[in-house]
Symmetry: D2
Subunit: 339 residues, 4 copies
C-alpha cells in the first residue's frame, strides 16, 4: 500500500506528539516535512525522527504538489488562516482544536474548506478513546433504549496560570469545550445550556474573570438532559468519566488507574491513582484520530469530526459564558443560527 | 435502663416497618400502642408483633400520659395536623417526610412544636446511611478541603402510576426532595436551584404535568456547586450514589450490589445488580434514625433532622417546580424567606 | 401456619445468636425454652427475649413431647452425646459444627440419629451465604462448564490464644474445616489433601504444635483441583473469598466491604475495609440455615448439611494434620473409609 | 548520549517485537543488524524498520567488533549454544527464556558467560510489569510486614496444539515457569514444590503426557507458603493476577480489562473482558526489560534477571514434573544442588 505523504505544521507540544505517532505508529503515513515558525524547534523534532525536510514558512509546504495533506498544530490564534490557506492550496487538513476563538474566523476557514472541497478533521481526540467510543456505539445501537441523562466528569489535576487562562478563552472555551464535543458525540445536538461557575481553588483566576469549577447543564434536541462537571484541581489526578443513562440500561466509562494494585492494611484498601496527565490518559486517541483522517482521505469519506463539529463546540463555549454571566439558560441559537 | 414508651400512628407500609424495627431492633424503645384509621390494619401489625394496645383514633394516644413520644407514618396530607395535635399534647414527635405539601400547613405544625418545646424529627432516613454519613463526616472534618462539586444520582427502578404522581406533589416534591435534604446534609445551605425535566420513559406522567427524568443544579451558600440527577426508571435497579468533590480530594459513595459475585464468560465479566427496592437498600437507616430520635429525647438534644430541615426540603421542591416551569434559576428566597 | 416449637441448648456466644434469630427473624419457629449448664446465662437470654422456660439440664427438654426439635450450641466436646440423647428422644437436631473432634464420638452420634430416623443438620452456615450459594448454583447448573480449579481464601483478623488453639483441635480442624465443607459444597467429593503450614505471625501457637498460616491443596473425585489458603491474621479484616474456575467461565465471590465509600486524595483511592468479625460478615447465614432446617422438618426433606457432611469435614481436618506432619499428600480413605 | 549498537538474532514472533521496540521505543539503542536462519524473515523485519544489515548466520554478527550486545530470540533449543558463542565473542547477551530445556546445556552456557565476564539477562518480562513490580517493591520494603502467602493466578485463553506441547517441555516448563520466576521475584528462594495436574479441557494433551490445569504449592526458604494456579483455557481471556499476603497487610495485582466500561441492564452490571493475548497484557514489559539490560551494560551493573534466575526456573519446572509424576513434594535440591 502507498503511504500518504503528510506534513506537520507546528511542532510544539502537541505537534511533536503527532510527529512521533506518524513515524512510529502510523505506517500508512509518510511524514515528509515538518514546519515551525521557530525553526530550531522543528529541526529538533526532525533530527529525533529522521525527517528529511524542515521549513519555517508553512506556505512552502502548501506549494508542494507531493504533499496532499497537512496536520496543523500551531498556536490557536493561527489555526484559522493556515486552514484557509491550506484549503486554498487543495490540501486535506487535520487541525487541532479549537479552530479559532472567534466565530468569524472559523467561518472564513470553513468557507474556504467548503469551496475547495478538501477534507477537514478537527482534533477532538477524546472521541477516539476506546471506552468512550464503546459507550457511544452501544447507545447509538439502541440496545439500552433512548438516552435520558448524560453525565460527564472532567477534572484536571492542576489549575493553569492566569496568563494561560487569559489566552485560552477561559474555562468554558478551553476545558469544557472537550466535554461539549463529547456530549454531542454521545447523545446528539444540544439546544440550550446553563452554566454555573465558581472560583474555589485558584483565586488568581478571578482577576482574569475566569472560573475554576463549573457545572453546565445541557438540553438535547431529543429530550435528553445532560450535565458536565469540571474542575481545574483534582488533587488525585486526571478524572475523566462519563455515563449515558438510558431508558433500558446505562453505560459508564469509569476513570482509569495507573495500575491494578490494591493494598490492604489496617487503614483501608488502597487502589492506584488515575493517570496524572492527559498524554498518559489518552495516548492512543492521538494515533487513532490521525489514522482515521488518513483513511477518510483514502476512501473519500467525511471525517468523523467535521468543521461544523469544531464550530459548534465554540458556539457552546460562548453560550456557556453568556449563561454564566447572565445567570440564565442560553439557547445555542442565540449565539449562532446555522445557515 | 428504662425503655421509652412510644406509639406508632399509621401502620401502613412505612409504619409497619417502624413497628417491626421498634420491637425487634430497638431495645431502648417500648412500643406500647399502634393506631390506624383502618383499624384492622393496625390490628394485623399488633398481632404479628404482640403489641397490647390498638386504637383507631390517634387522639386517644395523645391523651395518654404514659406515652411521651409518637411516630407518625400516616398519609402525607394528615402529617401537619397530627404533628400539631401531638405537640399540643406535649409529645415528642418523629414524623415521616414530607411534613406537608404546602408551606402554610408546615408552618402551623412547626409553630405548635416550637411553642410546646417538644422534639421533632423528620424522617429523612438517608442521612443515616453509613456510607453517606461517612462521606459527610469526612467532608465536614475538612480533611479533603472545601466542597467544590456535589453530585447525587438517585434513580428509582420503576415509574409510578399517574394517580400516585398526582397525589405525591410530582417528581421534585416526591423524589428529588430526598436529594435536596441530602445536598444540605452533605454541603450546607442552598441559595438557588435550576431544574430541567423531561418525560422520556413514562408518557402517562405528562398528563399529570409531571416529569420522569430531571437534572437539578444547586448553588450553595459556600460557593460550592451541585447537581442532582433523577430518573423514575433505572431498569437495572435502585441507583443511589453521590460524590462530594473537594479541593483536596474526593469522597464517593458508590451504589450497592446485592452480592459480590463476579462471573466471567466469553461475553464479559458480570457483576450483580443493585438492590431493587428502597427497603433492601436502606434497611438500617430506618432503625438508626429512630434510635437517634430516642437518644435525643433521653439526652435532651436537638434531633439531627429538624422541622426546619423538613420545611427547607419542601421549599426546594417548590423552587425546582418554579424553575422548571419558568426555565430559569430560582432563589429559595423567592419561595420562602426565613423569619 | 403452625409455628414449630424448638428449644436451644447452650446459650453462649453462638447459642444466643440463634435465640435472637429464632425470636426476631424466624416467624415459623416458636422458641419455647432455653437451656444452659450455666443457668444464669440462659436466664439472661430468656429475659432479653421473653422466653418462658429456662432449664439447666437439657434432658428435661428432651423429655418434653411438645418440643419436636432442638438446636445444640453447647461446647464442642458435648455435642456428640447431646446429639445422641436428642436422637434417642426422637428430636430433630440442629447442631453447631464440629460434631466432635474425634471420629468415634461422631460415629456414636450418627448411629443414634440414623436409628431414630430424625433429621440432623450441622451448622456449616457459610453454605447459606447468598454469594457463595449463587456461585455454587451457577457451577452446578453447568452453565460455565466443568469445575477445574477451586480457590478459597479464608483469613481471620486476629490469632487466637494458645488455650483456644489447644482446645480447638488446631488450625485445620478449627478454621480450615469451614473451607473443607465449602470445597465439597462447591465442587464435590475430595479424595486427597496436601497441607502446608507455617508459624509466621503468632509464635505462641508453635508451642501448641499449631500453625497460623496454611495452604491446603485438594484433589477432587471429578478431576478438579483445589486450594485453600488460611491465615490467623489479616490485619485489614476478615477475608472471605472464593473462585470456582470452570472450563467455560469463572465465578468469584469477592470479599465484602463495610461500605461503598471511595476516598481519593494525593496518595491513592481508598476503599473501606472488610467487616472485622464473622457476625458482621455472615449475619444472614445463621437465620437462613435454621429456616432451612425447619423447612426440612416440615416437608420431610433431608437437611442440606448432613451428619455425613459433618463427619467428612472432620476427616479432612485429620487428613490435613497427617499431611502436614508427614509432608505428603494424604487420601481421605487413609483416615476413614465409608462403610 | 551515544546509542548502544545491538543486533537481534532470531526475528520470529518475539524477535520482531524486540526489533520494533528497539527502533521505536528505545532511543538509547541502535539496532544495527538482524539475523534469522530464515533469511527472508529477517529481511522482512529489516525492510519494515529500515535496518541496514541482515544476515543469516549469527556468527557473522559475533565477529563484528562494533556490536557489543546481542538479543537472542531464536527457537529455544538453540539458545544455549548461541549464548555460549556470544559470550565467547565477548558480547553482552539478552536471551529469551528458557535458556534451555535441559540443565546440562544451561550449565555450558552459563559457564561461558561467567568465564567471559559478559552481562547476561534472561527474558522474564513479567518482572517488568508495573503492577507486579509495585507489589514486589512494597513487599520488599517491609511496609506490610513479612510475606506469608503468595498466590499467583496465571491462565491462558486457549490451549496449545499437541505439537506445541511436546516441544515446549510441557505445562510446568512452558507456562508455570513464568510463575516460578515471579514467585522468586516476589518472595525469595523456594525450597520445595508440590504439583497437582489434571487434563480437564484439552484431552489431546493427555497423549503427550501433558496437563492443562495445575496447582503448584511452594515452600519458601523464609517460611512463607505459596500457590500457583494455571489453566490453558480461560475462556474470558488472559488471566494474570497475584497476591502477596503479609503479616501487616496484603498487596494484590488484579487482572486488567480492555477498557473501563460498565454496562448495566436488567441482567446485571457488565464489565469488559481482560486482554486476550499476552502482547496486549504485557506490551511495556518487553520495552522495559531491554532498556534495563542496556542500562546495566552502560552502568556496569548486574542485570536484574540473571543466568542463575534462568536456571532456577528450569530447576523448578523439573521439580514440578517430578512432583506431579511421583505425587509427593520435591525439594529443588533433588534436582540441582548449587555448587
Amino acid at each position: 500500500m502507498n503511504r500518504l505523504n503528510i506534513a506537520v505544521i507546528g511542532t510544539g507540544r502537541m505537534g511533536s506528539v503527532h510527529c512521533r505517532n506518524l513515524v512510529r505508529s502510523i505506517p500508512e503515513a509518510n511524514l515528509v516535512a515538518v514546519c515551525d515558525i521557530r525553526l530550531e524547534v522543528a529541526q529538533r523534532v526532525a533530527a529525533e525522527l529522521g525527517i528529511g525536510r524542515v521549513v519555517q514558512d508553512y506556505r512552502e509546504l502548501l506549494a508542494d504538489p507531493d504533499i496532499p495533506a497537512v496536520l496543523i498544530a500551531t498556536s490557536t490564534d493561527t489555526h484559522w488562516f493556515i486552514v484557509r490557506d491550506a484549503a486554498l492550496a487543495g490540501k486535506h487538513i487535520f487541525c487541532e482544536k479549537p479552530l479559532a476563538l472567534d466565530l468569524a474566523s472559523i467561518d472564513v476557514a470553513l468557507a474556504a474548506v467548503e469551496q475547495a472541497g478538501v477534507k477537514l478533521q478537527v482534533g477532538f481526540n477524546r472521541r477516539f478513546d476506546p471506552a468512550f467510543r464503546r459507550v457511544r456505539d452501544l447507545v447509538a445501537s439502541g440496545a439500552i433504549g433512548r438516552p435520558c441523562i448524560l453525565h460527564i466528569v472532567s477534572r484536571d489535576p492542576e489549575p493553569p496560570s492566569v496568563e494561560y487562562a487569559k489566552a485560552s478563552g477561559g474555562m468554558y472555551l478551553d476545558m469544557t469545550i472537550h466535554d461539549f464535543d463529547m456530549a454531542r458525540f454521545q447523545v446528539g445536538e444540544v439546544e440550550e445550556v446553563y452554566a454555573l461557575g465558581s472560583v474555589l481553588v485558584a483565586p488568581w483566576l478571578a482577576e482574569a474573570g475566569d472560573v475554576d469549577t463549573d457545572v453546565v447543564t445541557l438540553r438535547f434536541a431529543n429530550g435528553a438532559l445532560g450535565v458536565i462537571d469540571n474542575s481545574r484541581q483534582a488533587v488525585y489526578g486526571y478524572d475523566q468519566r462519563l455515563e449515558v443513562f438510558c431508558s433500558a440500561g446505562t453505560a459508564r466509562a469509569e476513570n482509569e488507574a495507573v495500575d491494578t494494585v490494591i493494598v490492604g492494611d489496617r487503614t483501608g484498601m488502597h487502589a492506584a491513582l488515575p493517570p496524572r496527565f492527559f498524554m498518559q490518559r489518552y495516548p492512543d486517541t492521538y494515533v487513532n484520530e490521525v489514522r482515521e483522517f488518513i483513511a477518510c482521505i483514502r476512501e473519500d469519506r467525511e471525517p468523523p469530526v467535521t468543521g461544523r463539529d469544531g464550530r459548534l463546540s465554540v458556539v457552546m463555549g460562548y453560550a456557556a459564558w453568556k449563561s454564566y454571566q447572565e445567570n440564565r439558560p442560553v439557547k445555542l441559537s442565540e449565539i449562532w443560527r446555522e445557515t
